[in-house]
Amino acid sequence: MSLNQEVEMLRRIQLFSKVEPAKLKLLAFTSERAVFEAEEILFHQGDAADSAYIIVDGEVAVDVELPGGGRTRVARLGRDQIVGEIGILGDVPRTATVTASARTTTLKISKELFFRMVSDFPTMAVEVMRVLAHRLEHTNALLRECQDKLATSRP
């Protein structure tokens, strides 16, 4: 894929929808493409977080490993979505294990590059916040659901 094709593709991603094309080209030029085959792991829960991934094509599964062993799937993310941003924003180890469900092409943005883009382009920062807010809302909903289940299961 050439740089220009990649820029075209990035433009269709919501996170970058407000970012001007010249900047997208810079993003494409300075970030790394990473292709994962099906079942390959983007990162493990507990790893040090050094980058975020934008899914250009394909699909990934997000699993949280449970303390007692086993794992639970918390999300499936597809094209145009960002994954791994929590680790670099919060400077914490990976909170989940992310696996490619099919052949997945990603744009791997290093921590430094991500912070630079966010600080250089406030529109992108707002977009990232929006994504995070959605995820928080999603988590809260799950929490409510759990509480309800707990309340009803108690005698």
Binding site: S2, L3, A22
Partner: protein, 902 residues
């Protein structure tokens, strides 16, 4: 050490000094004779000028004693009788002979003095270094390393020059001066007296003036030593300086010091030249007196012309020696002070006695318990770190010392290693008093690993086997010439009082490591690496390492075999997309334009990627292949993209350095260049413009940068240029590149690159790990992993181990202690930098490998102590509990919380 320099010199060089002194005395006789000759010549010429046929006696030698000694004449030789011209020639030739002889004496004496001085300097430096090896640890905290180095290297250097002169110079110069004065007095009492008076002035006034110079010299030495210490500190503290922005503070400090040194040196300089000026003046005034007084005496008929010439001639030689004598005296005081200042730094309290480090036969290893009784260790302020510790560490059991901070548990191992002095109490090992055991015994029987093992700037292997080099095991294997040279070296070393230890001898004690030879030792090292979980690190070093195919032909050909094996595996569909193999007939998209043209590994600087763009031969090849225009066009498109992408970024933005082909400073220039080309078209490109743009094309990697600049047509033209480049390579570049050849091992490339023989494809996230695993499989299949590990052992550790990670350094420190198979292994926080899981595994491995052998391990958690048979709990520098580990742990409800509560 001898506190007085002169005593030190006499003690070690009496014989040499006496021999040279003897030569000096003989030389003075010839000197005297040469002084007498000019008078004879001048008088002969004046007398013989009027008498052409007069016959004169030649070589009528007699020495006259002055009147107050009886005035008798000592006849040495009666002489030949010669005609006028023959006589003149004879006396002139004789004069020449004396000049030659005197000169020879001077050369001989100076050489002998120099050699003596160098020998003594060598002895002194060795004595000082020997003391460094015996310093108590506390001394290294008091004296800066750089200062020790400056003292041994620089400060004693002038001492060497002086030592040769110490006795001979005053004898030699004084003898000369006295001979000359004696001669003058003999010629004319008056003129002699004049010379003596002026010399006396010189000898009294000038040293007074020089006192201040001496004091300044001392200050100069101390300030310069402190400067060396500070510079070393700055280098050591560079991280702190950068992270706290204190570089300017350091600048201020150094500027201040340099200023002080400048003032001292300038003051010195001024005074030195003032004294020199006075000296010269006095030297010039004397002839004036001689002319005047000599003239008057000649008028009065008291002296003849020859005497005046002879006196002036003799005087000509006088100021030099006298000045040098004064210099010598000054130097004597100066050097004595220097010597004292250095020596006092090398006489700390508590040095290791010399005999504990003596080289001897292999001692029998210690076997038995370590018993401490009433051991007290105090720090510099008298605070007791260990306070009456009494315990027994069985020689066949593994003991943990459980301790919180400040409990003294970390000091206990130091006391066992004699790294801290005992204030009271005693330690015995296998029934012997530890304090009197030679290091040859303790160094072999006890293995110690502390928190920060020092890593020497040698290979990983040499760092690991450092603990096996106690004494020469077998002499070096010399050929005839080598042995002769060695004998000479030894003779000279003996004269300088250096020991005859030969660095080229076989020092590695294979037996101590349980090996017979180097190959077995490597096996032992690999076992140790495995215990330490360091095997994979070293394997990676091996992959990154290089081998010389000429020296390791067998391994090189096996690695080419591994290359073939890997490439047959790469044909599998799942792996095919991960590597782009090297192919002389194909353009490699994952490699830069320059690398594609070179298609080989550069050797030496000429064809390195960053310099190849400027190589005239490459430019010639490109022009002939018709690539000058197309590559400039590629460069122009790159420049356009860079200007577009980076124009808005502020200069200094890290993206420039990380990603841009053009630096921030050059960007405006390229923008202007592009603007110019836009107007006039590419046809008007100047050669300079073309060079600049072509320079951008060389580092371009199609697969990585993805600007779609290298089409099929350009690819084939670049391949033509690649072939032309190799075919016409001029002789001077032949050694600068090793071309890729699928059948040959490339010595300039790493082991991994040789096996891979291609490039990883950009953007394949898992390619490095998948291919890494594949290479591992291939090497295992061919039984080559051990060989690669061996290459990895040659990996240089860097200065203070800087090329290794902190954990690798710690593990190597442990490995060093393990490899010599000590009777007792002491581990003092030597795994502190590892994560807790690795620490636990390592402990398990080591304890397992040393079943039934003594281990003493300082642990922080009760959990860790469960692995040991015995446990000692330390509290406030005292033993709180000792006994079977499980019993004590059972008694303590929660060892961790109990310790935390201390």
């Amino acid at each position: 050490m001898e506190p007085n320099l002169f005593k030190y010199i006499l003690k070690h060089s009496r014989r040499d000094q006496l021999i040279i002194l003897g030569v000096v005395v003989v030389s003075l006789l010839f000197y005297y004779a040469s002084l007498d000759l000019p008078k004879t010549i001048v008088n002969a010429i004046t007398k013989l000028a009027a008498h052409a046929d007069r016959v004169t006696t030649f070589m009528h030698l007699e020495i006259g004693l002055p009147g107050f000694l009886g005035g008798a004449n000592l006849l040495l030789f009666d002489g030949f009788r010669l005609g006028r011209t023959a006589y003149l020639i004879a006396i002139c030739v004789l004069f020449l002979v004396f000049v030659v002889i005197n000169n020879w004496f001077k050369i001989y004496i100076n050489t002998a003095k120099g050699r003596l001085g160098e020998r003594m300097l060598r002895r002194l430096r060795f004595d000082l270094f020997d003391r460094v090896l015996r310093f108590p640890q506390a001394q290294f905290r008091k004296v800066k390393q750089a200062e020790i180095a400056t003292m041994i290297k620089d400060e004693v250097e002038p001492l060497g020059g002086f030592i040769g002169d110490a006795f001979i110079q005053p004898a030699f110069l004084g003898g000369y001066a006295l001979t000359a004065i004696y001669f003058m007095v003999l010629q004319s009492l008056w003129l002699g007296m004049v010379a003596i008076v002026i010399l006396a002035v010189q000898a009294i006034v000038i040293p007074k003036l020089r006192k201040k110079i001496l004091r300044l010299g001392r200050q100069r030495q101390l300030t310069a030593r402190a400067l060396a210490g500070r510079i070393a500190e700055v280098a050591d503290g560079s991280v702190e300086i950068h992270s706290h922005d204190t570089s300017n503070y350091e600048r201020a400090d150094i500027v201040d010091r340099l200023g002080r040194i400048y003032n001292i040196r300038f003051d010195l300089y001024q005074r030195k030249f003032a004294v020199k000026g006075l000296n010269n003046f006095l030297a010039q005034v004397t002839p004036f007196t001689f002319y005047l007084l000599g003239g008057l005496l000649a008028f009065a008929g008291k002296v003849d012309l020859g005497i005046i010439v002879a006196v002036i001639n003799a005087y000509k030689d006088l100021p030099g020696p006298v000045k040098e004598l004064i210099d010598w005296d000054q130097q004597r005081q100066d050097v004595q002070i220097k010597y004292e200042q250095v020596v006092e730094q090398f006489e700390p309290e508590g040095m290791v006695p010399q005999d504990l480090q003596a080289v001897g036969e292999r001692p029998a290893p210690l076997e038995g318990d370590i018993v401490l009784s009433g051991v007290v260790v105090a720090d510099e302020n008298g605070v007791k770190l260990l306070d009456g510790v009494g315990l027994t560490l069985p020689g066949n059991e593994q003991t943990a010392i459980l301790a919180g901070p400040g409990s003294g548990a970390d000091v206990l191992p130091l006391a066992l290693m004699r790294l801290v002095p005992l204030a009271a109490g005693s330690i015995s090992v296998a029934g012997k008093d530890l304090a009197t055991l030679p290091e040859a015994v303790t160094g072999r029987s006890i293995g110690y690993a502390g928190t920060d093992a020092y890593i020497f700037p040698v290979s990983v292997r040499d760092n690991l086997i450092y603990g096996l080099k106690h004494a020469p095991v077998a002499p070096a294997d010399y050929d005839q010439a080598g042995r002769r040279e060695r004998e000479l070296t030894e003779r000279e070393a003996l004269r300088a009082g250096n020991p005859l230890l030969d660095i080229h001898a076989q020092w590695i004690d294979y037996e101590a490591a349980g090996a017979k030879d180097l190959a077995e030792l490597d096996l032992r090292i690999v076992e140790t690496l495995r215990l330490l979980e360091l095997e994979d690190d070293v394997y990676q070093f091996g992959l990154r390492g290089v081998i010389d195919p000429a020296k390791q032909a067998e391994l090189a050909s096996r690695l080419v075999e591994a290359r073939r094996s890997l490439h047959s595996r790469l044909a599998e569909p799942a792996l095919r997309s991960l590597v782009e193999p090297f192919d002389a007939e194909r353009y490699i998209a994952n490699m830069s334009v320059a690398e594609n043209l070179l298609f080989g590994a550069p050797v030496g600087p000429d064809l390195q990627p960053e310099r190849i763009a400027a190589n005239p031969y490459l430019h010639k090849v490109l022009a002939e292949a018709g690539l000058a225009e197309p590559l400039a066009e590629v460069g122009r498109r790159i420049a356009e993209t860079m200007v577009e992408l980076f124009a808005d970024l502020p200069p200094g933005h890290p993206f420039f350095e990380q990603f841009s082909f053009i630096s921030a400073e050059d960007l405006p220039e390229f923008r202007a260049l592009l603007g110019r080309l836009g107007k006039t078209g590419a046809a008007a490109m100047t050669p300079a413009d073309r060079d600049r743009l072509t320079g951008l094309a060389f580092p371009y990697v199609e697969a990585r940068h993805r600007l779609e600049l290298i089409g099929a047509d350009l690819e084939s033209r670049l391949l033509v240029a690649r072939r032309a480049f190799a075919a016409g390579l001029p002789g001077d570049l032949k050694a600068a590149v090793e071309f890729y050849d699928a059948e040959r091992y490339i010595g300039a490339a790493s082991v991994q690159d040789n096996i891979l023989f291609g490039r990883l494809v950009y953007g394949q996230a898992q390619a490095p790990s998948k291919i890494g695993k594949l290479i591992g499989d291939v090497l295992d299949g061919l039984g080559l992993r051990a060989s690669v590990l061996r290459v990895g052992l040659d990996y240089p550790a860097g200065i203070a181990g800087k090329r290794l990670t902190a954990t690798q350094r710690q593990k190597i420190g442990l490995g060093r202690a393990l490899l010599k198979r000590p009777v007792y292994l002491i581990v003092n926080e030597a795994t502190a930098l590892l994560d807790s899981a690795s620490q636990a595994r390592l402990m398990e491995n080591l304890l397992g490998a040393r079943q039934g052998k003594a281990v003493l391990w300082v642990v922080r958690h009760g959990e860790e102590a469960r692995r040991f048979q015995r446990l000692v709990v330390m509290r406030d520098g005292r033993v709180a509990e000792q006994g079977r580990a499980e019993e004590i742990l059972a008694r303590m409800k929660s060892p961790s919380t109990e310790l935390a509560a201390q």
